[in-house]
């Protein structure tokens, strides 16, 4: 029997392929995924830490900080008195200007002269051990909050009817680890520091130049064959996957932009580098029972239930017939669909009608952070069973 899912999957695969980002399909007849909790044995420090998020951008926002040199005041909301006892590891601005890759990155991103070169160095330094404080942990958390807000307000105003699960999936395909990795690696040309000390010595490279590359402890998921890993600790807390390390550098650079040049320029930067990338939202939808869903949707909007009528056909008796059907509510044509069988055409018309509803886009929508913002469309929420 023909199933709707194969038809849609096939269509989306052939139509759009977005650079290196693979968008995860979401079933939309189920409610959005809630935060899952890991089993209490593995991590029972506190409730907030043990939460596990579905999307990498959410994980990046809610990270906890590992820093043994941080002194926390008794009143935890007294944010001014969080002191760091170890500040001597920072690289000076003069030294940062000597690193060629930092200077070229600064120029390539067209950052303003206010943007400090040492911040760029900091953005490229992921935490390596607990002694050093010079890393991008906090910058990347701040950056992911900025990114998350501006991307969500863009999507909420431009596609107000997206169900929450699709919305989160789409946000993740804009600012998840893999997308930001692609930006860092392929558009911004950030390099990873993968050479050993010996190689650096042999190539006669100044010690300082290591700061110009992205430094992080690689997460080893699979040791090489014939090698047994002996380790006291199960997990090094500073281990990062490659994509996460690159993504954190992008988040930190955006946070640096906010700090040095203000919120407005961070917003413009996100518009230019993140939101300008094309994400095909319609391919995220995966309808399990499109006919049922459409009937329900029309019913809640006080419209007549869908009827499908044949519009045109060719080659019914041949081995490659084509049918074009229209999905109507009363006399209103909602969508048309074509297919090599009546059933396929019918399901396709249902899916198109649903997508036309969910992907509604107001003309010239303003986002809430715009100065000339004048109210936005607020959706009633996804209808489900």
């Amino acid at each position: 029997m023909f199933s709707s899912r194969t038809a849609i999957g096939h269509k989306s695969a052939s139509r759009v392929w977005n650079a290196s980002t693979k968008i995860q399909n979401r079933l939309i007849s189920i409610s959005p995924a809630a935060v899952q909790k890991t089993n209490p044995n593995s991590n029972s420090n506190n409730e907030i830490i043990s939460k596990k998020y579905k999307f990498s951008y959410e994980t990046a926002k809610n990270k906890s900080i590992q820093n043994s040199h941080l002194s926390i005041p008794n009143n935890k909301f007294d944010f001014a008195n969080y002191n760091n006892n170890n500040n001597d590891d920072e690289i000076t601005e003069e030294n940062a200007k000597l690193i060629p890759s930092i200077v070229s990155l600064h120029a390539r991103l067209q950052l303003s002269p206010d943007y400090k070169y040492s911040t760029l160095v900091k953005s490229l330094s992921c935490p390596i051990d607990s002694n050093s404080n010079f890393n991008n942990q906090q910058l990347s958390i701040f950056g992911s909050h900025i990114l998350s807000f501006y991307v969500s307000e863009y999507l909420l105003t431009n596609y107000p009817r997206l169900p929450i699960s699709i919305l989160k999936s789409t946000i993740d395909s804009y600012i998840g680890n893999f997308s930001l990795y692609d930006i860092a690696k392929n558009s911004w040309g950030i390099d990873e520091d993968s050479t050993s000390k010996l190689e650096k010595y042999l190539s006669n490279e100044p010690e300082l130049f290591k700061f110009g590359r992205l430094r992080f402890i690689k997460k080893v998921t699979k040791p090489e064959s014939n090698i047994i890993k002996y380790s006291n600790s199960i997990n090094n807390p500073f281990e990062l996957s490659k994509s996460e390390a690159f993504a954190n550098s992008v988040r930190s650079i955006i946070a640096g932009l906010y700090i040095h040049s203000g919120e407005e320029s961070a917003k413009n930067f996100i518009n230019d580098h993140i939101l300008s990338r094309q994400v095909d939202i319609s391919s995220v939808f995966d309808f399990k029972e499109p006919g049922k869903l459409l009937t329900r949707l029309l019913k809640t909007n006080n419209m007549l239930s869908p009827t499908v009528r044949l519009i045109s056909e060719t080659g019914r008796l041949s081995n490659s017939p084509i049918y074009v059907v229209g999905c109507f509510s009363g006399n209103d044509l909602l969508a048309t669909g074509e297919g090599s069988s009546l059933k396929e055409a019918r399901v396709r018309s249902f899916v198109r009608a649903l997508k036309a509803w969910y992907l509604y886009k107001p003309l010239d929508a303003k986002v809430p952070s715009d100065s000339n913002f004048n109210g936005m469309f607020v959706d009633d929420g996804e209808k489900f069973y």
Binding site: F79, S148, F149, E153, P368, S369, V378
Partner: protein, 243 residues
């Protein structure tokens, strides 16, 4: 066409026998206020009138005990804790009073539709009424950014970011407590599966009740923009953290 007629007759007689078994089930297990004869007669009459119809469903509203296959009384679904869903003044009064008491640079005046949407959770009436998921999502995003910005403005550096207190600022616990302290959670339409009723410890589930606060922020932002929403957070929510 002629061959079609006998087959439908067979199907409808099958349908009839199925209905018989269903009715006997209802009779056996319920004391609901429906008379067996009534349904039976109705079905028979309908059968006779529309012998071509393949599916027949008896629509009966039942109060009290729930029976599978019977549709519930709509007024029972459209109420929470005895409060009926609707734009009545009593429902919106706590929220309206709170919004009127605000002293922001702009007077906050939201339409009744959006006020009702703020106090409706998606669990209410199977999501068939406008609910607050989207505005609360927007509000949450603004709150997270505003909280982070506040932490930085207080300390002048990034040391406190990622600390427990920082992440607590948008936690469900905090938001639900805020809604309770301002009295805006008096009327809230949601579905709770709590056999214990009001004495239950989870009578107000935090993850559901936290959406009231975040959707107030989202609703303000959706009408007046980000600046006013941030002002609301700074003047209302952040002083509440300190207590």
């Amino acid at each position: 066409m002629q061959s079609l007629i006998p087959s439908t007759t067979i199907q409808s007689s099958r349908c009839l026998s199925r209905n018989f078994s269903k009715i006997s089930q209802i009779r056996q297990y319920t004391n609901a206020k429906i008379s067996y004869n009534q349904i039976y007669n109705k079905n028979i009459i309908r059968q006779q009138q529309q012998s071509q119809q393949q599916q027949i469903r008896s629509i009966v509203y039942v109060r009290g005990q729930r029976v599978q296959g019977l549709i519930r009384d709509p007024s029972e679904i459209l109420s929470t804790d005895g409060v009926k869903y609707g734009k009545e003044n009593d429902n919106l009064k706590p929220l309206k009073e709170y919004l009127n008491s605000l002293e922001l640079s702009t007077k906050i005046e939201l339409s009744d539709d959006i006020l009702l949407q703020i106090i409706t959770h998606k669990s209410f009436a199977h999501g068939s009424k406008p609910y607050n998921a989207n505005i609360s999502f927007l509000g949450e995003q603004i709150l997270q950014l505003a909280a982070t910005k506040y932490v930085i403005s207080q300390s002048g550096n990034l040391n406190a970011i990622g600390s427990l207190a920082h992440r607590f600022m948008w936690s469900d616990k905090m938001l639900a407590a805020f809604a309770e302290s301002k009295g805006v959670d008096e009327v809230f339409f949601c579905k709770k599966a709590l056999p214990g009723g009001k004495i239950d410890k989870l009578y107000k589930p935090k993850s559901i009740y936290s959406t009231i606060t975040s959707s107030i922020i989202g609703a303000i932002a959706s009408k007046y923009g980000k600046t006013i929403a941030e002002e609301f957070i700074e003047k209302e929510l952040i002083p509440a953290y300190k207590n």
